[in-house]
Symmetry: C2
Subunit: 386 residues, 2 copies
């Protein structure tokens, strides 16, 4: 029965059965009235999740294409951005910039730490000529399990006109990010995370300041052109054939999110994080990130002395059907990542921790049997989402 | 019951129920062994459909991104291509070239006609300096319902080294295109056509000559980088998160195609085309394309004097649930398009023709009731796929 898996990944999320069945609806003409109604419902629903009045565009592609779309639509070749990196996805933003001749000044913080808003404030204050056109930063850094303080980073801009472009692919709906209230200019999301869908869609919420930048941007783009997407979207269409089955799934998952409420989803993710952290610590393992910056979507756990990540990941999958992720970037060989993102229940967390405990026992790590579930259960009983 | 639709579109195809259910399988880790097995099965299956030994890459995006990928991976800024256009999708190739600073010399043939291989041969023969790096052409032009003779176009190159890049998004598996045998360098496909899937995947089969061009190409790309896709693919992965649910669907649709056989699929599409053409003609309507170049995927039908396309398309959908497409490009106001592409049966064609007949009667067009079904039935009875 190990094919009955529990995915504890930082994406893809398990897909709710009602979402999977919604995707099995018969095909429709994406140039017809049925599509227009679907489109209007999902874009309105997404605005609630992005907490914005700005336009949201949906592209048929995965999250990296959303990051690329933010760069090629908003920053011209030769222009400079401040790329704030705290892990592998921050580094990906840098790679994308460089692929399209955008100068990325990298402000790197160590793996496991959050970005320091004061350092960002200082750098921007020193840029009196406003050479920096945008600040690129992750909301939730998937590779390290660290949540950045986007509100503070937004405030750190002061009067600097740089756009704030936030990759919230693994953050949106798992952690609060009120785009308009926090004056974020662009937020990027992906379908296969807290939105509880399979991969294949990326969404960008783009405010008026950013649309003005898109008008002036000379970088080349065609398929990922968000201006084309906006003007088609206003007519209830997409410029190119959209992934209709995923949009049907999105309509259903937005209904589920509305039922849980955004605040409920944030609280569930925070509580799962706290259960995981308490459970893992009770097994004597170290966590990569401090509590103060810990992600509600994924927890990077340090592998005990003498073991490699595969010594934990492989038996978890093969013996228990519990699927966790390896490390990425410079902590690749030191951590495994236990996700708690999307359609994951408290029961899934308990079962995952029990399996982890058993795997550690088998590997000869001295752990107290039952400790992880007891610790997580205590957290759950108190309901103490921070 | 008009919500029980019959899609007679040049994409998206109706999706077979078994494919829809396959897409509802539980999510998997796209970095794990389950994915590798899935990936290897679908790429091997696609090679059979492309009739090639070359590598096939699958990108999470729709067909236009596949066209863009062919341009940005193979043609450098400032280089020239010969863009052979016979309709709106040929024009899209030109737009894509120009968006990425590729010089597109347009060789345009009138809407409704196929490209003349002799004219292409002359143009290439005159290019003694080999300035033309590639010939871009549609296999099946979706906007006009015309099939180009790719074998003849390939031969027209003679000794000219230009790559032959064929958009077969609406052609693959509907009409024969043995890539290796016909010396085609790149073939582009899309999921929502004869592959019988929802939209969201585009596939490119790329031969060795084209991979060499990709090595030298200086155009900018990141998400659509086919070299990255190839090197990840050889490890059973994708560089960026793939649309896993669509890949599960693809596995199932490839099984269905294998069961029907490619030759069977070509014959079915050709027979549906002949049924439609006989049926429509028996109603006194004109066809945009001649028999000799008629597409097996879609038939563009001229609207009778005094009517607009919407006068036919809207009642077909609203009264009968039969969904056909409007025109595109310069014939937008003169034709509607009756698709017979993908998961479409002879019964669907019969029902669609019966509905068309009824709509024409209602619109006051003088038609003989029963004529279309009688004519199509005669074709079907003879099984005379040309």
């Amino acid at each position: 029965m190990t094919e009955k898996q529990i995915l504890l990944l930082p994406g893809p999320t398990p897909v709710p059965p009602q979402v999977a069945l919604a995707m099995a609806r018969p095909a429709i003409n994406h140039r017809g009235p049925e599509f227009k109604a679907l489109w209007e419902e999902v874009t309105a629903g997404l605005k609630e999740v992005f907490q914005t009045r700005s336009e949201v565009v949906i592209l048929t592609a995965s999250g990296t294409a959303g990051m690329e779309a933010a760069v090629v639509n908003l920053i011209s070749p030769g222009e400079k951005v401040l790329a704030v990196t705290i892990g592998a996805f921050g580094e990906r933003f840098v790679q994308i910039c460089r692929a399209f001749d955008v100068e990325a000044e990298v402000l790197a913080f160590p793996y496991g730490r959050a970005a320091d808003p004061e350092v960002i404030a200082e750098r921007l204050a020193a840029d009196s000529g406003h050479q920096i056109k945008a600040v690129l930063v992750q909301h939730n850094e998937t590779s390290t399990g660290v949540l950045n303080d986007i509100r503070a980073i937004s405030r750190a801009r002061g009067n600097h006109p740089a756009l704030l472009i936030v990759d919230s692919i693994s953050g949106l709906a798992a952690a609060d990010l009120p785009m308009d209230a926090w004056h974020v200019d662009v937020v990027i999301a992906g379908s296969q995370k807290a939105l509880m869908l399979p991969p294949g869609l990326t969404m960008l919420a783009v405010n008026e300041r950013a649309w003005q930048a898109a008008e002036k941007c000379t970088n080349k783009r065609f398929y990922l052109d968000i201006k084309k997407a906006r003007s088609s979207g206003l007519k209830g269409q997409t410029p190119f054939t959209p992934a209709v089955s995923l949009l049907y799934g999105l309509r259903e998952s937005l209904r589920l999110l509305r039922e849980e409420t955004l605040v409920g989803s944030f609280a569930r993710h925070a509580l799962m994080r706290d259960m995981v952290r308490a459970g893992v610590r009770s097994l004597g393992l170290d966590l990569l990130a401090d509590d103060s910056v810990a992600s509600p979507a994924v927890t990077a756990v340090c592998v005990p002395e003498g073991l490699k990540p595969a010594d934990i990941i492989t038996p978890l999958r093969e013996k228990f059907g519990v699927v966790v992720a390896g490390g990425q970037g410079e902590v690749k060989d030191r951590v495994f990542r236990l996700g708690h993102l999307g359609y994951v229940s408290f029961n899934d967390i308990m079962a995952g921790l029990a399996a982890l405990e058993a795997v550690l026992v088998d590997a000869g790590v001295p752990v107290t049997r039952g400790a992880a579930v007891a610790a997580a259960g205590a957290v759950l009983g108190e309901g103490t989402a921070r």
